[in-house]
Symmetry: C2
Amino acid sequence: MVGLLRSHDINPTHQRIEIAYVLFSRQEHLSADQVMALVNTHHSETSKATVYNTLKLFVEKGLVRELIVDPSKVFYDPNTHPHHHLYEINTGKLSDIGAEYMQVSGLPPLPAGTVIEGIDLIVRVRRAS
Amino acid sequence: MVGLLRSHDINPTHQRIEIAYVLFSRQEHLSADQVMALVNTHHSETSKATVYNTLKLFVEKGLVRELIVDPSKVFYDPNTHPHHHLYEINTGKLSDIGAEYMQVSGLPPLPAGTVIEGIDLIVRVRRAS
DNA sequence: GTATTGATTTGGACTTTGTCTAATGTCTGG
DNA sequence: CCAGACATTAGACAAAGTCCAAATCAATAC
Ligand SMILES: [Mn+2]
Ligand SMILES: [Mn+2]
Ligand SMILES: [Zn+2]
Ligand SMILES: [Zn+2]
């Protein structure tokens, strides 16, 4: 974990190690709140401010990917390889779609002076009624 | 406007007509807050609760499309034809990408008992530094 | 008209997610 | 040990959205 943080130019503090561990030891998409809860399961030791600060830092440094998929909360994805997402509207469950299952082709003319930050492809499904 | 609402099985009340008018008379992507402001520019007559209720109703009835693209607010799109979106991270500006510019191919195996609600493709761009 | 009644709207309290700030704590090189 | 930079923290704050009980409205029935 320490090496992973260092390799992304992140000073590995105790809190950052704990948060990284929570994210990388499972391969789930977690919200800030979930990270907060998991990191403080045993004994409370990381504040809300630090969780938010740290997640933002991780995103900036490219260690995790931010997913905007649910109208009420951001998810953090420890998998930064290209892949897509499937979101179950009813349950809020978010899962990966391997890049091999779906491809995106073409690119629109970008506004002058802008560069692509990322392309998000989200399949929204609903439990059949 | 009344006909449009009726054709989507929506009882055309004064407030709903005003809100639909705000959305359809311009072809922009508006947030609930913006709809609220626009509908009440002249004289205040529609409450926050009604704006939220009505937008939700419009989405349910398929009159407008909900766009989850910005971590802090939902946008509503009067264009329900298939198309994609380009989001400028810095400015928060959201614009359309015609379906002819980008194609999505393939479909993942869906979880049993679910059906596709929609596929969202978002190109995120950042002003080049 | 007037009454009835279901649908709609409303103010305002409330919740949730996230941000901000000023104070405090930690670490390191000299 | 000390200075300074960096990191963490509690808690106040803000913004988006939800909820609810009360009021209003609109349509039909007499
Ligand atoms: Mn610990
Ligand atoms: Mn008016
Ligand atoms: Zn993922
Ligand atoms: Zn659009």
